[in-house]
Symmetry: C3
Subunit: 159 residues, 3 copies
């Protein structure tokens, strides 16, 4: 048992994998934060989608007026979906990239730029900042994931 | 070849990783089930979104009336999206957590509470149960993932 | 340091894991492509959802007419969400499956059928092809993921 444990934890001892784990945890926590922001706007804007969620605001017809969409709620939800569309490929391709044996400096560069770009993207979406702020931060994160995928496929096919 | 295989399967022989694999497979299968429930409600409620999907119900104008939203279909779809938003972080952070060398008992506690909370969440959403049933089960799953992320970052930064 | 690196890269040297990495990178890149197709249709159809995105097309009232939904944009977005719902389980369950020590030929069969089915699904959705083309390709990908999950749980519980 002890021996197997030791071997398993070699993965988490590897510097590139530690970097991957750190930045993956950060961007996934950032994505999870969108749920809390959505809940905050739903409660403060009184804009719900499920009838059972409005029960605390009144019964019957008086509660029905809270079943509505709100621009701020929808904006956070779009940011959340954009996170899913971009952070899922980062987590999946990033794992393969971390296991493909890149230089630590290259790996850190990829992970840090992606994480920074996605945090900026969230601010750009929620404030909102004028374009092309949000578009550029999206494109930077997208390019980082594409670069990692390119490195993975190059390692798999050419080595 | 044989030697490499043996080393690779050490991961699946590790008890914590086996627990992670079991509960990850279960929650991902549960999430996949939402697609079947959506399809079931789309067919029984005759509520479709793509024109080509209504062709079996008639041609031209007579089929157009089936291009509509249905409250039951939309409810399942919201449950499915909520699964994506919560199960994706669990799978990603859970993998890092499993590799960070937690106690088996702690790991099982995390995985089992999350899995139970998400199964309850699905029933609470689809029946639907009165609040705060669904809200609480969502918060429990969310907290478990947050706790695993905290443990991962603590392991990475302090050890 | 060198020794740990060597051990880490054993994972990427394993033939089944290499196959998993290759097809996972391909389907995740395919999913990422949906973002570019959405952006293409948003710009060519002039159909946006965020007020700040229409600023380049005019100011005030003249730009508001571009805040609208377009059937082609919505179609790509549905395809993208369907990818998330199906490719996320493939990536998660596929990793566990690759680590559960399957025969290389079985693994390649699973990965190749899934990848082919999802690429066909995208064409079927975007052209669009008449049903049951899209439905069948969805069902094939779904079945492959289910088969991998079955193999994972069988390995975990019976060995």
């Amino acid at each position: 048992r002890r021996g197997k444990m030791a071997k398993l934890t070699q993965l988490i001892d590897n510097e590139v994998f530690r970097a991957y784990a750190t930045y993956t945890a950060i961007v996934l926590l950032k994505m999870m934060l969108m749920s809390l922001i959505t809940a905050y706007f739903r409660v403060t804007r009184k804009a719900f989608v499920n009838p059972e969620d409005t029960a605390t605001f009144g019964k019957g017809e008086s509660a029905k007026k809270y079943l509505r969409t709100d621009p701020d709620v929808e904006r956070v939800r779009r940011g959340h979906l954009n996170d899913l569309e971009n952070i899922v490929p980062f987590v999946g391709i990033g794992l393969l990239y971390a296991l493909s044996g890149p230089e630590l400096s290259s790996a850190l560069l990829h992970f840090r730029i992606f994480t920074g770009a996605r945090i900026f993207h969230t601010f750009a979406y929620l404030i909102p900042l004028p374009q092309p702020g949000r578009g550029l931060s999206w494109a930077i994160g997208y390019s980082v994931t594409f670069s990692m995928a390119y490195n993975v496929l190059k390692t798999l096919w050419l080595l």
